[in-house]
């Protein structure tokens, strides 16, 4: 009886040993990626401004529609100011800048009119950008905040009737 117990124990050990050595296999999958920091700028309709076409995207437009110095309808949320030799059209819109995977805490926002305009005057906030040069709108912008900027277009009374169109490029650099 004593011998049988001993033998049983020995065989059990062998069986467990076989299971541990031969019943499972393994493999590994290495996963890697390179995370790049990124910044995103979007234009958003301001509650007091005209609807931005493409709001929430980085390619938007501000359609003032048909306007005239005297009379005519003023588009909703557009402020028209008649001066002695010109008239202004102004409306606010929001610029929102977000950041991901970056150590930047602030940003510099620059605006550049695509084509210089010697006839009309394009003003962003208080900055005249008509010369198509780079103009810094803010040197320490806050990420994640929708900041309002007012675009003012000054049209001289001497200008012939017709379409006015231009593009403002915004550039953000994280700091």
């Amino acid at each position: 009886m004593k011998n049988r117990l001993i033998l049983t124990s020995v065989l059990s050990v062998f069986a467990l040993s076989a299971a541990a050595n031969a019943q499972s296999g393994s493999g590994t999958l290495g996963v890697s990626a390179t995370v790049q920091g990124s910044i995103n700028l979007t234009f958003v309709t301001n509650s007091s401004g005209i609807a931005v076409t493409g709001t929430g995207t980085s390619a938007a437009s501000l359609p003032f529609g048909n306007v005239s110095m005297f009379g005519g309808a003023v588009p909703s949320n557009v402020t028209k100011t008649v001066n002695s030799t010109s008239f202004d059209l102004a409306t606010p819109f929001n610029v929102k800048v977000d950041v991901a995977n970056s150590g930047s805490t602030t940003f510099t926002l620059t605006a550049t009119l695509a084509a210089a305009d010697a006839v009309n005057t394009w003003t962003l906030a208080t900055t005249n950008i008509s010369d198509a040069a780079d103009h810094i709108l803010t040197a320490a912008g806050e990420f994640g905040a929708a900041v309002p900027y007012t675009l003012k277009l000054t049209v001289p009374a001497s200008e012939a009737a017709g379409a006015i169109s231009n593009t403002i490029n915004f550039t953000v650099v994280g700091a």
């Binding site: 001993i6 019943q23 990626a33 920091g37 995103n40």
Partner: protein, 165 residues
């Protein structure tokens, strides 16, 4: 002890009758493969492979072939597919394995999930009963929070296939 082991009659077998030898099942072998619609995997050695998702960005960039990406609130998620093939040398055709997966690293810069299960250091069941000799595709997702600093990230996912009893 020696006498008992040498005498087959002592184990209930007839002396002189050839003993049937049952093959001992070897360890299941895992092969990690590129899925038909997944990103390319580099096979490094038997059972080991590497997946490089390349440059990834929350706001910019497009997905590399075999990958898809989506932005969720506060994180970028890159998805791809891969295949696991299990072979069980010496096992019967009906043998099945239980496949588990775990992460060998503890980096909190990102999360990794397979088929919707977020992986951690503890083994989690990936396939409960997978037929030996078969292969199956799985979806791997890497989630990178926007708070993760730019730079390289990496993890190792370990798979274990155990023969079901």
């Amino acid at each position: 002890m020696f006498v008992i082991l040498a005498n087959r009659a002592a184990f209930g077998q007839l002396a002189g009758v050839p003993r049937t030898v049952t093959p001992v099942a070897a360890a299941p072998a895992i092969t990690i493969l590129t899925a038909a619609t997944g990103a390319f995997l580099r096979s490094q050695s038997a059972g080991n492979a590497a997946l490089d998702l390349g440059p990834v960005s929350y706001f910019n960039g497009e997905s590399a072939p075999g990958q898809s990406r989506r932005n969720k609130s506060g994180a970028l998620v890159i998805s791809t597919r891969f295949a696991l093939k299990i072979d069980c040398p010496g096992s019967t055709a009906s043998s099945k394995v239980n496949v588990t997966a775990s992460r060998l690293d503890g980096a909190d810069s990102h999360a990794i999930s397979i088929d919707g299960t977020t992986l951690g250091p503890a083994a989690q069941t990936l396939v409960e009963s997978m037929a030996c000799g078969s292969s199956g595709e799985h979806r791997l997702e890497v989630e990178v929070p926007v708070s993760t600093p730019a730079g390289s990230i990496g993890s190792t996912v370990a798979f274990v296939a155990a023969l079901n009893r």
